[in-house]
C-alpha cells in the first residue's frame, strides 16, 4: 500500500467546511458576518423589542436631540400604532405588550420633526430595507443563474441569442426605466391592487430583481464556460450523463461560490437604489419606514435655521455600517471560496 499515507488521512474538511474556516481566519470578514447576523436578527424580532411605535406622531413638540443617559426607559404612554402589519407581526406586537407592557426606550436617538422615535424608525426601517435587498437579489439569483448556466452550457446559437438579450437589456438606462415603470404603474394602481393584489412595494421588488439578474447571468455564464471544458465534465458525459445531470451535480455546486459572493456584493447596490427611489418619492411610501425614507427626512433636517444632526447621522451610520459589513464579507467570501490547491 502507499507508505506515508497516514499524513494524508488527517481530518478532512470538505470544500465548504474549508471555506468556513478560511472565513473565520479572516478577522474583518468574520466580524462583519456576525454583525450582519445580529442586525438581521434584530430586524426580524423588531416587533418584539421594547421600542416606541415608529409612527406615533407628536406634532407639537420640537425634534428631540438624543440625550444621555443612553439606556433610559420610560413607562407609560406606549401607543401601539403601526401600519398594516402581517398577522405574525401583530401577534408579536401583542406578545411584546404582554411582556413589556408600557415599557419603552426613551428616545435613545432622539425624535424627528414629527415627534417619532428615531431608534424605532431605524430598527423598523431595517426590516423593509433588508427585505428589499434580500428579495431582490434572490429574484436576480434565480433568473440570473438559470439564464447564465443555460446559455453557458448550451453554447452556439442559443448562447449568442441569450446574451444578446442581456446586452440589450443592459443598454437600457436602468434608472429611467424603473422610474418610468413605477410611475406608469402608479396610474394603474387600483387595477393592479384589485385584480392582481400587487402593491407598489412588490412592484418595486420585482422591477429591481428584473434588472439585477443581468450581471449575475454574465458572471455565471463566464464561470460555466470555463467549467464546460473541465475534464470531469467530459468524464461525466462519457458515462452517459445528460445536461440536466451535469448542471445539477457539477456545474451548480461549482458556481455557487461565485454566486454567493456576487449576492453579498449586490445587496448594497440594491439598498442604495431603494434609498434613491424613496428619495424621489417612488419607493416605499409612508407610513411605512425604510432607510431610504429616513435619508430623505435627514436631508430635510438640514436647513438654514438649524441642524438636527442626529436625524442625518443615525440613519447614515446604520446604513453605512451595514453596507461596509456586506462589502467586507463579500470580499472575505471571495477569498475563502477561491478554490485553492490542497496541502503540498
Amino acid at each position: 500500500m502507499t507508505g506515508g499515507d497516514d499524513r494524508w488521512l488527517q481530518a478532512s474538511p470538505g470544500p465548504w467546511r474549508r471555506a468556513w474556516e478560511d472565513l473565520r481566519a479572516n478577522r474583518p470578514a468574520f466580524v462583519a458576518f456576525w454583525f450582519l447576523a445580529v442586525v438581521a436578527a434584530l430586524s426580524l424580532v423588531a416587533p418584539l423589542l421594547p421600542l416606541p411605535s415608529p409612527i406615533a406622531l407628536k406634532l407639537a413638540d420640537e425634534p428631540l436631540a438624543p440625550t444621555a443617559p443612553w439606556n433610559a426607559f420610560t413607562t407609560g404612554g406606549f401607543r401601539p400604532e403601526y401600519w398594516d402589519l402581517s398577522a405574525l407581526d401583530r401577534a408579536l406586537v401583542a406578545l411584546r405588550q404582554s411582556i413589556f407592557g408600557d415599557l419603552q426606550t426613551a428616545h435613545w436617538l432622539g425624535t424627528d420633526q414629527k415627534g417619532r422615535d428615531l431608534l424605532a424608525r431605524i430598527v423598523w426601517g431595517s426590516r423593509t430595507s433588508l427585505a428589499v435587498g434580500l428579495l431582490a437579489t434572490l429574484a436576480s439569483l434565480v433568473v440570473g443563474v438559470t439564464w447564465g448556466a443555460v446559455a453557458g452550457l448550451a453554447g452556439g446559437r442559443v448562447d449568442r441569442v441569450m446574451m444578446r438579450i442581456v446586452d440589450a437589456l443592459y443598454s437600457l438606462p436602468f434608472i429611467f426605466v424603473v422610474i418610468f415603470l413605477i410611475t406608469v404603474m402608479d396610474g394603474w394602481r387600483e387595477e393592479l391592487q384589485g385584480t392582481l393584489g400587487l402593491s407598489r412595494e412588490s412592484l418595486f421588488y420585482v422591477t429591481i430583481g428584473l434588472f439585477f439578474w443581468l450581471t449575475m447571468a454574465r458572471v455565471v455564464r463566464g464561470q460555466v464556460l470555463q467549467l464546460r471544458h473541465a475534464e470531469f465534465i467530459s468524464a461525466a458525459r462519457l458515462a452517459g450523463a445528460r445536461w440536466p445531470w451535469i448542471l445539477r451535480v457539477h456545474v451548480l455546486p461549482n458556481v455557487l461560490g461565485i454566486v454567493v459572493v456576487y449576492l453579498t456584493l449586490s445587496i448594497p447596490s440594491v439598498l442604495l437604489f431603494e434609498s434613491f427611489l424613496s428619495f424621489l418619492g417612488l419607493g416605499i411610501e409612508p407610513p411605512k419606514v425604510s432607510w431610504g425614507l429616513l435619508a430623505v427626512e435627514g436631508a430635510d433636517a438640514i436647513s438654514p435655521l438649524g441642524l438636527d444632526w442626529w436625524l442625518v447621522v443615525a440613519p447614515a451610520v446604520a446604513m453605512g455600517s451595514v453596507l461596509l459589513a456586506l462589502n467586507v464579507l463579500g470580499d472575505g467570501l471571495r477569498d475563502a471560496l477561491d478554490p485553492k490547491g490542497g496541502p503540498a
Partner: protein
C-alpha cells in the same frame, strides 16, 4: 477478434474568421485518414508529439468529438452515426482515463462519489450497492477504501490518477482509452501507475488504446505501436520490431531523441536532431507532412516528398514513406 475498427477517420476543425459574420477560413487538420484495428485484449500504443492528433483520435473514439468523416466500429457497430440516446449502452463498453489528475476530478465531490458517479448516471444498483462497489474499485487500484470519504485535493497526483482509473473501470468497460495517463505524474510515481495499468489489463482482460508521447512508457504497456505525425499514422507495427528497427525517418528521430539515463551511452549516442519547428495543423505541408524536417529527404530523387503523399506500405509492417515505398511511380 476485432473489437475496435477505425477506418479513414478524419477530424477537421474549421477556423472561423473574425468580423460580424463568422466565416470559415480554412481548417485545422487534426486527424487525417487514420485507420487501425484493435483485437480484444490487445494494447495499442499511439505515440506522437503535440499536433499529431492522437488526443483528438481518443476523443473521437469515445464520442466526445464528432469526426468529420470516417468510421469507428465497436464490435461491428458503427459508433459515429449514433444519437446520444443510442450511444448510451455503448458508454458502458468504452471508457477513458484522462491526462490531468486534478482537472478530471470534480473538486466538490468526494472520491467515493466520483468513482460511483458513472453507476449513478446509468442508474445501476442501489445507493448502498454503489458505495460498496466504489470502495472495492478503490481497492482494486491500490487505494485505501477509507479514501472514499476524502476530497481530491487531499490526495497526491498519483492517487488522483488512480481514482480516475477506478472511475473508468466502474462500468466494466471492454475498451479503455488512456490519454496520456502518466504524463502529468511525478517520475517516481509513474512506475507504479504503469504497473497498475499493465496489471489491470491482465486481470480484467481489457483492451487498451494507450496514447502517450513517452515511448519508454508505451513500450512497457503495449505490444503494438503506431506513430503519428500531423494527423496521420506514419508507421505502425509490433512493439519490438518497431523499436529495434524503425523504418520511418520520423520514428528514427523520435527514438533517437529520447534521453537515456546513462551518461556513457549518452556520450556515445549520435543523436538525430531535427531541424526546424513542427508544422502547424492549420497549414500542413504538401506531400509528406514530414518532408520539411526530414533528415533523409535527399535520399529520395526529385521533389517527390514535397509533392506526393506517401501511402502506408504493407510488409513487414506499415510505413508511410517514399524511402520504403513499394508502389512504383506510375
Amino acid at each position: 477478434m476485432t473489437l475496435l475498427d477505425v477506418h479513414g477517420l478524419t477530424v477537421r476543425f474549421p477556423i472561423r474568421g473574425g468580423g460580424l459574420f463568422t466565416r470559415d477560413r480554412g481548417a485545422i487538420h487534426a486527424v487525417e485518414d487514420v485507420s487501425f484495428a484493435l483485437d480484444r485484449g490487445q494494447a495499442l500504443g499511439l505515440v506522437g508529439e503535440s499536433g499529431s492528433g492522437k488526443s483528438t483520435i481518443a476523443r473521437a473514439i469515445v464520442g466526445l468529438q464528432q469526426p468529420t468523416s470516417g468510421s469507428v466500429k465497436l464490435d461491428g457497430t458503427e459508433l459515429t452515426k449514433l444519437t446520444d440516446d443510442e450511444r448510451r449502452p455503448f458508454r458502458r463498453r468504452v471508457q477513458m482515463v484522462f491526462q490531468d489528475p486534478t482537472g478530471s476530478l470534480d473538486p466538490r465531490l468526494t472520491v467515493g462519489a466520483i468513482v460511483a458517479e458513472p453507476l449513478a448516471i446509468q442508474r445501476l444498483g442501489t445507493r448502498r450497492e454503489r458505495r460498496a462497489r466504489a470502495k472495492s474499485l478503490l481497492e482494486s487500484v491500490g487505494l485505501d477504501a477509507a479514501h472514499a470519504e476524502r476530497y481530491p485535493h487531499e490526495l497526491s497526483g498519483g492517487q488522483r490518477q488512480r481514482i480516475g482509473i477506478a472511475r473508468a473501470l466502474a462500468l466494466e468497460p471492454e475498451l479503455l482509452v488512456l490519454d496520456e495517463p502518466v504524463s502529468a505524474l511525478d517520475v517516481s510515481v509513474q512506475a507504479s501507475v504503469v504497473n497498475l495499468l499493465a496489471d489491470l489489463r491482465a486481470r480484467l482482460g481489457l483492451t487498451y488504446l494507450f496514447i502517450a508521447h513517452d515511448l519508454a512508457v508505451v513500450r512497457h504497456v503495449c505490444e503494438r505501436v503506431a506513430v503519428m505525425y500531423l494527423g496521420r499514422i506514419v508507421e505502425e507495427g509490433p512493439r519490438d520490431a518497431l523499436f529495434a528497427n524503425p523504418r520511418h525517418p520520423y520514428t528514427q528521430a523520435l527514438l533517437s531523441a529520447v534521453p537515456v539515463p546513462d551518461p556513457v551511452a549518452e556520450r556515445a549516442h549520435a543523436r538525430i536532431v531535427l531541424a526546424g519547428d513542427p508544422p502547424s495543423p492549420a497549414h500542413p505541408p504538401t506531400g509528406c507532412a514530414f518532408h520539411p524536417r526530414c533528415p533523409r529527404r535527399a535520399e529520395v530523387p526529385g521533389d517527390r516528398c514535397a509533392v506526393e503523399l506517401p501511402r502506408l506500405s504493407r510488409a513487414p509492417h506499415p510505413v508511410a514513406c517514399h524511402l520504403v515505398d513499394e508502389t512504383p511511380r506510375a
